[in-house]
């Protein structure tokens, strides 16, 4: 379990993290979203015990990260931003070092190391110095050291950065597989990842939590939530038909591909009505889709909208 209480970090006059409070239960994967410099990494560094908070507190499995630093660090597996590792060591040596430093019991040591190697497919590069590995392998070595001691809490700062789509998929599968009994925080720039791995997402900007919800809830905040989009041969007629549906608030036509999107009035559902209206006029529709909502749009409006209100205040 991870629990933060008004956690803050300030450097002189600059406030990097401004009182963040949240709680993550075991079995939950929390996604940290936010623009660069929003305070995601700083927050994770404080929970992982690298940086000391300047205000508030954080607890990991009940251990205060400042007062009971060693106990807290023992239960955490941490992948720092950029997945740093000792480049001159080979993969096996590096993992052995981590196992020793993490005080993995001697009878479990080899099993745990082999398990981590197996889970991240590092078999083929075991004897290579880490410096000579590709970016993807380096990231996987970083992940291997984070999960090596089978920690209860995992803090992963951009775990899929620099991986190719196949590797991204593997890492997401790994996170999902581990999610059942662990508490996991993942930071990411990739919004599709939120859907793939997170049960809950927190959007941070300028050191503050601007949203804390499930991915589906976030999407429902989108303008596109419950909107209907379609492509038709006769754009003009289709537009005309849509405008007569009572619950349609507005209609937009994409200038590039001619895709028409009808936005509902707040809280209304228009899919059935739109479908009926189109059939009634026998308008040929090549494609018709109900939009779930677009996370990138929600992300933009939350993080930039916040800036606008703040500028006014």
């Amino acid at each position: 379990m991870i629990e933060t209480q008004a956690l803050g970090k300030r450097y002189g006059d600059f406030v990097a993290v401004d009182g963040i409070t949240f709680k993550v239960e075991p079995g939950q994967v929390l996604g940290f979203l936010g623009p660069n410099g929003a305070g995601k990494s700083t927050t994770m560094k404080m929970i992982a015990g690298f940086l000391a908070p300047t205000s508030g507190s954080a607890r990991v499995c009940g251990f205060d990260v400042e007062e009971q630093s060693l106990e807290a660090r023992r239960v955490v597996g941490y992948l720092p931003e950029g997945a740093p590792s000792y480049g001159e060591m080979d993969v096996r040596q590096f993992l052995e070092f981590i196992a020793d430093a993490r005080e993995v019991p001697a009878n479990l040591r080899n099993k745990r190391i082999d398990d981590a190697i197996d889970r991240l497919n590092l078999e083929s590069v075991l004897q290579q110095p880490i410096d000579t590995l590709s970016k993807g392998f380096k990231r996987r070595v970083g992940l291997a050291q984070a999960i090596l001691h089978d920690p209860k809490v995992l803090i992963l700062d951009e775990p899929t950065d620099g991986l190719d789509p196949n590797q991204k998929h593997e890492v997401r599968t790994l996170i999902n597989a581990m999610a059942r009994d662990k508490t996991i925080i993942v930071s990411t720039h990739v919004l599709e990842e939120v859907h793939a791995v997170c049960h809950r997402a927190i959007i941070i900007a300028r050191g503050r939590v601007l949203a804390d919800a499930t991915p589906a809830e976030l999407e429902s905040r989108s303008r596109y939530h419950q909107a209907v989009s379609l492509t038709a041969t006769d754009v003009k007629a289709a537009k005309e038909a849509l405008s007569r549906v009572p619950d349609v608030a507005s209609i937009e036509v994409d200038a590039q591909d001619g895709r028409i999107t009808a936005f509902p009035k707040p809280g209304r559902q228009i899919f059935v009505a739109v479908n009926a209206a189109l059939q009634e006029r026998s308008i040929v529709v090549r494609e018709l889709a109900l939009e779930g909502g677009r996370l990138d749009e929600v992300f933009r409006s939350i993080t930039q909208g916040g800036a606008a209100t703040e500028a006014r205040a």
């Binding site: 660090r73 000792y86 480049g87 001159e88 070092f97 020793d100 430093a101 005080e103």
Partner: protein
């Protein structure tokens, strides 16, 4: 304790994973022999002791030890591994100590490899081996002090070149602390007590008295305190600077 040895082992191993260790050892041995035999007049003196070797050692250390210490922490910070190291369940003190002991052991290995000199001098004559042993001990303690200073300076910057130069300067000042070069700066304005205190900080004075074969508790204490103080300072500097 085991955390210290884990960190120390990893660090020491990494010295030998790159050519740096071998280059250092070869240069150290070549230079120390050159100084001993040519500048020190090892044969010409006609005396069976290692004074020519130990006389030049502080000056050799002045440049070679900072070359070892410069990467201690600045590299960790530059590559970001400091974040990895300090989020492991080990204390700051264990990390500082482990890395320092590795560097010290490395210098110790290089120093131990000068044993042919000791054998030579025993072959040629009948030296006072007690004095030689004390000198070796003094040399090791002095190297430890240089390293501790270097560790602290290395923690303050992520640039190894800067760390090297500053460490050389700091060590030079401490080596020369008992000489007019440094003392004259203070004599004009500082009270005599302070000037004496600074003179008492000189590496050379303490090293010289140990290498005469007199292992005085005060000299040992001086080096131990020196190492302790600078390592403590290292821990504080790392804590302050790790955020940036």
């Amino acid at each position: 304790m085991s955390a210290i040895s884990t960190v120390c082992k990893r660090e020491l191993r990494s010295y030998f994973a790159t050519p740096v260790a071998y280059v250092f050892i070869v240069i150290f041995l070549v230079l120390s022999s050159a100084f001993t035999f040519y500048l020190g007049g090892f044969y010409e003196r006609g005396q069976a002791d290692l004074l020519p070797f130990f006389n030049f050692l502080p000056w050799l250390y002045l440049f070679l030890v900072p070359a070892v210490s410069m990467r201690l922490w600045s590299e960790e910070r530059k590559s970001g591994t400091i974040e990895l190291l300090l989020t492991l369940p080990i204390t700051m003190w264990q990390a500082v100590m482990g890395k320092f002991l590795a560097a010290w052991a490395f210098i110790g290995i290089a120093l131990a490899l000068t044993f042919p000199l000791w054998i030579t001098v025993n072959y040629l004559g009948d030296p006072d081996n007690g004095v030689i042993f004390a000198s070796y001990l003094g040399a090791l303690l002095m190297a430890g002090s240089f390293l501790a200073i270097g560790s602290c300076i290395s923690a303050a910057t992520r640039n190894q070149v800067v760390a090297f130069i500053l460490t050389v300067v700091a060590c030079f000042v401490l080596v020369m602390a008992g000489f007019p070069l440094v003392l004259d700066v203070f004599r004009s304005w500082a009270p005599q007590g302070l000037v004496d205190a600074i003179a008492g900080l000189s590496f050379l004075t303490h090293f010289a008295s140990i290498s005469k074969g007199v292992i005085d508790l005060r000299d040992l204490l001086y080096f131990v305190l020196m190492i302790g103080f600078w390592l403590y300072a290292s821990a504080i500097v790392i804590d302050l600077k790790k955020a940036d």
